[in-house]
């Protein structure tokens, strides 16, 4: 379970999140929709611990424990995961090495033995098959020369391998064609589980046809303006932000 309480965050002198509160119980998928500049990516970055944001008020609790003072890797070890809107290209770093380093760092932090090559490979091969990723893919440098769709699929592959208990998907649908979108959504749906929750950030209702949310929130002007079920997303698609949330849009 993740609880975000009255969160205020600023970048330099600009307040982006202005008292955002949100609770996602285990096993639920919540979607956040909102216009440009609403604070969606800021929320994703603040949850995962990126530098450059000042939290002036409020808290983020993960299974009852505050994560605000934790480094990004400590949050990852607890089971947080962020699927990036723009996955970063890292020349010279082999994708397989990266994935294995990440998984073993998490295992080590949680007192588990590091995996040997064969065990690791078994986990990765399964995930690759699920996501229709070719064998030679992981021989390449992290995200270097990947198409938009490949980058997003690699994000979901990392999520499957690292097996988080809470995942934030930051506009994972952006830049995807319909086939890639289906593969990515299936990859997410496979992980739906009573012990795992998701926060799906998106501009468009389309993604939610494939990843069906339990709850939909509308974020605008740094706060949750409206909460409803999946029909709220359909209403938004039909009427637009102005009509649904008024001035806050």
């Amino acid at each position: 379970m993740i609880e975000i309480k009255n969160l205020h965050a600023r970048v330099d002198d600009k307040e982006i999140l202005k008292g955002l509160s949100l609770t996602i119980p285990n096993g639920e998928v919540h979607a956040i929709m909102g216009p440009n500049g609403a604070g969606k990516s800021t929320l994703a970055n603040v949850i995962s611990g990126k530098d450059g944001y000042e939290i002036t008020e409020g808290d983020i609790l993960f299974h009852g424990q505050s994560v605000l003072e934790m480094e990004p890797e400590e949050r990852a070890h607890l089971g947080l995961f962020l699927a990036f809107q723009y996955p970063v290209e890292i020349p010279g770093v082999n994708s397989m090495t990266f994935l294995r380093t990440a998984l073993n760092a998490k295992r080590k932090a949680n007192g588990e033995a590091e995996l040997d090559g064969a065990e690791f490979l078994r986990i990765v091969k399964t995930a690759m098959k699920n996501l229709k990723i070719k064998d030679d893919f992981l021989k390449r440098s992290v995200n270097v020369g990947f198409s938009g769709g490949e980058k997003k699929r690699f994000e979901i592959l990392q999520m499957q391998v690292l097996s988080p208990t809470f995942a934030v998907l930051d506009e994972t649908d952006s830049g995807l064609d319909i086939d890639a979108l289906k593969v990515v959504a299936e990859g997410v749906n496979m992980l739906r589980d009573p012990s795992r929750s998701f926060l799906v950030i998106t501009h468009y209702q389309r993604l939610l046809d494939y990843i069906e949310p339990d709850v939909v929130h509308i974020l605008a002007d740094g706060k949750i303006q409206k909460t409803g079920d999946k029909n709220l997303a359909l209403e938004l698609e039909e009427k637009g932000y102005d009509a649904v949330i008024g001035d806050a849009a």
């Binding site: 995962s48 530098d51 990036f84 020349p91 010279g92 760092a105 440098s141």
Partner: protein, 400 residues
Amino acid sequence: MTLIDTLKSTLADDTSANAKLFLDNGIPTPKIEKWHYTNLNNIMRTTWPFQKASHASQQSCGESDIRFFDGHATVCSVPDGVTILAEREASAHPILQSMRTQEFSKRDESLAALSHSQSTPLFILVDKKVEATLVLENFSMLKESVNFPHLCIAVTEAASLTLSSHSHSAGEAWSNILTQIHIANDASLTLMNLQNERKDTAHTSHTFIQAEEGSALNIYGMNIGGSLGRQTIDIDLNGKNIQTNIAAANLADGKQTQDFTIHMNHNHPSCDTNVFSRNVCRGRGQSVFQGKFYVAQQAQQTDAEMSCKSLLLSDRARADSKPELEIYADDVKCGHGATVGTLDSESLFYLMARGVPRKDAENLLVEGFIEEMLTRIPDDATAKIWRAHFAAWLAATYEG
């Protein structure tokens, strides 16, 4: 007396042009353009008595084919088609003889001239159409000494030579290495130089290459050890259609200075050149990259690209980069790019968000940065060895 004073008094009676060039100019100072960023003061100030090791007794070569001990060559094995020539035989070979009698004239070549005047070269001839690999080691055993390994190599028509060399030392020495190479028409040369001297050793190497029409040059270098590591590569492209690929890495830590200075003269049309440089500096380490493409008026359709990236890992680290183009032809494609920066914060966050601790994430990024250079080395076994040396460098914290 400082080492330089001692050297000068030793050479006082030597009337050769090369000795004279050194006597007149001494050790290059930062006032000389090619040595602007690399200060040789520490070598000058050392008070070692100038010791030139006498001929080392026949030593084993370990896993190498040829080992230089304190500048003297021991040849243990030579592949078929490769001949080691005695001085008398070499004098009958016009190309090798011209190397033996070469007179350096530029002020910035005074160290090459010093080496030339003080050394007895090892002459290597690679026969026509032969494909040969030589593994070479430079080792300085004698403390407080200067050594002058010197190679003269002729790679004849359509032959191919791969020369892999590794320089290391027992410490407190100065290796001043001279290599002269001629690559005949359609021949190819792959040169791989790993400098990993002990931290109190200075290493200056001077490689002069004359390449003829249709030849191919692949040159890889890494400076890791030594208090000072300087690899100078001077190439004259004397014919059409010569392909050159160079990749170099400097790793500077503590108070080290690591330097690659590459000068290429494109004298004929249709040569393709690529120079790739990677530098990592931490502590108070300094890296230097100087690359110059000269393109003569008749060298049309030259395609030459130079890229240099430097990574600064501490506040007191320093990277000097000087890419230079001097072009007199009007139908060429020449470019250069240089960047200096710290680790990319977005990349760091990406790795940390996946659970990789900060220090490991930083190391992974530095590894990736150097891997881009290592991956260019066509010989996997050599790349693997260099990768291991680099990993040890990355894991160590350096004092001094």
